[in-house]
């Protein structure tokens, strides 16, 4: 069944979209889109390290993203720079280190475009297993810390006062974000992962009125973007990552229509 590279890409992509849905909603609610960007930029460093020491790519990306997230927390405590400056610092320096290292690895045939923008041809049966097993683990952990994470997103003090231990769940959430980036780097590419997290959730925000509804719609529009994007990429021979994101953008524009109609009706 998984003989065809296209089926493999489809199965892996849908898996990623399901995991990206709820995490993307949290990224939007917590205004963490730039944080997601930083993690995914550092993912490139993770990939080059994986090649250098012949490690598993997803594992190496996960470790590097987690280290960058921890670095951010400790820098925030030590310096007087604002969060966004520190994120920029980490994003670009890890990206630069990654690119410099690639230069040293000239003996390996490197598909830089594939790393940055994703490559459906590269998805193996093992990758599918990784996406679905890893994705399930992420979702199960998310399920258990949901109440705490969600209440802390609404109000940290309230959550802390009422025994939800938000500090712990915030930390776990950072690791889950690193995890989803590690799972999707091969498919979507380092530069566009945040797009797959953000845009489906943004679509969902336009047309939902409860948190649960927003998550469900985010998952569905993520799946739709992946499926249509991959077919388009096959049809017109474009990179898989950008095709998926462009489809997501089109869906976002469509999702503005009901919002617009509602606005017009209220004016009358």
């Amino acid at each position: 069944m998984f003989d065809d590279f296209f089926i493999r890409a489809l199965v892996a992509g849908v898996g990623i979209a399901i995991v990206a849905g709820p995490l993307g909603c949290l990224v939007i609610w917590r205004r963490l889109s730039y944080f997601g960007d930083t993690l995914s930029h550092s993912a490139l460093l993770g990939v080059t390290l994986a090649y250098s020491f012949s490690l598993n790519i997803a594992f190496s990306v996960f470790v590097i993203s987690a280290v960058v997230a921890l670095l951010l927390v400790s820098l925030q405590k030590r310096t007087k720079l604002a969060g966004d400056s520190l994120l920029g610092l980490l994003a670009h320096s890890t990206l630069a280190i990654g690119l410099v290292l690639i230069g040293f690895l000239s003996y390996i045939r490197f598909d830089l475009m594939g790393l940055l923008f994703g490559d459906i041809l590269a998805v193996t049966t093992a990758d599918i297993g990784l996406v679905w097993i890893g994705g399930s683990i992420i979702l199960i952990i998310l399920y258990f810390i949901w109440k705490s994470l969600f209440s802390a997103t609404v109000n940290y003090d309230l959550s802390a006062a009422e025994g939800m231990r938000p500090e712990f769940s915030n930390f776990i959430f950072t690791l889950l974000l690193a995890g989803v980036i590690a799972l999707s780097i091969k498919m979507i590419g380092a530069l566009l992962i945040t797009g797959l997290l953000l845009i489906p959730a943004a679509i969902a925000r336009n047309i939902s009125n409860s948190p649960r509804q927003m998550i469900v719609i985010a998952i569905l529009s993520g799946i739709l973007s992946v499926v249509v994007g991959l077919f388009a990429s096959l049809e017109v021979n474009t990179s898989s990552g950008p095709s998926i994101i462009v489809v997501a953008l089109i869906l976002f524009i469509i999702s503005l229509v009901p919002l617009e109609i509602k606005g017009q009706l209220q004016k009358r």
Binding site: R31, S151, D157
Partner: protein, 247 residues
């Protein structure tokens, strides 16, 4: 039941330091079941900080905190819900524990906002949201309830009704209440123990004894104090600008 079984929180000589400046210092207080403790004091006197210590949100940099409460509920002073989240009142009521729908409606009815149950939080007015916040805390049936200026933005009639409700809840749930309030009339008439804060505890005691206290009169001005008490005493200490005691 002996005295100790009723104890919910005990702060002993607690304080919070921020970049080498003490926000509050030397705070000792106890909250018991069925009793209302009020914190009063000017802006920046450390009322919210003290409440957060009692709630275990802030760690005390000195002294010790004992917390025997099993279920705390909190009505924070300022809370802004991000518009990026589509949150309805009913979702908000279930935020930190699962409460069944009948109880949610009942609690919302107590604060007069049951008709808003499916409204989005960010469409509520300040006063309406405040009522939802109080309803949420009540619906949790806590044994310790901390209310930080709970009636801000609520209309005049509503204010009186909500204060009466708070008193009622205290008796009905037999819960301890820590209240921060600027409404001296309510504080003096309905609470069991009053603590006057200004970076430290200026004075504390029953409302009756507090209105006679010179520190209280100094903090709130002769006029306000006089509306509640005819007594005046000599000041036993005076304050520096940061609220600490001048020697």
């Amino acid at each position: 039941m002996n005295e100790n079984n009723n104890l919910l929180v005990r702060l002993k000589d607690c304080g919070v330091q921020k970049s080498s400046k003490w926000i509050v210092k030397g705070i000792s207080l106890e909250i018991h079941k069925g009793k209302i403790v009020t914190l009063i004091g000017p802006n920046g006197s450390g009322k919210t900080t003290t409440a957060k210590m009692a709630l275990n949100i802030l760690k005390s940099d000195e002294g010790s905190i004992e917390n025997y409460s099993t279920k705390m509920a909190y009505v924070p002073q300022k809370i802004s819900i991000d518009w990026t989240m589509p949150l309805r009142v009913i979702d908000f009521m279930n935020l930190t524990s699962h409460i069944n729908k009948d109880e949610i409606i009942e609690a919302l009815a107590l604060t007069g906002v049951q008709h808003l149950i499916y409204d989005e939080i960010h469409n509520l007015s300040g006063g309406e949201f405040q009522r939802v916040l109080i309803a949420r805390a009540i619906a949790k049936k806590p044994d310790l309830l901390v209310l930080d200026e709970p009636v801000q933005g609520v209309d005049f009639n509503g204010e009186i009704a909500l204060y009466n409700l708070i008193k009622e809840i205290c008796i009905k749930l037999n819960c301890g209440i820590l209240l921060i309030s600027h409404d001296l009339h309510f504080v003096m008439s309905a609470t069991d123990h009053v603590i006057c804060l200004n970076g430290h505890i200026c004075c504390s005691g029953s409302p009756k004894s507090i209105v006679k206290n010179s520190s209280y009169i100094e903090l709130f001005g002769e006029h306000n104090a006089a509306t509640l008490s005819l007594y005046q005493h000599e000041h036993d200490h005076s304050h520096q600008t940061d609220g600490s005691v001048k020697n």
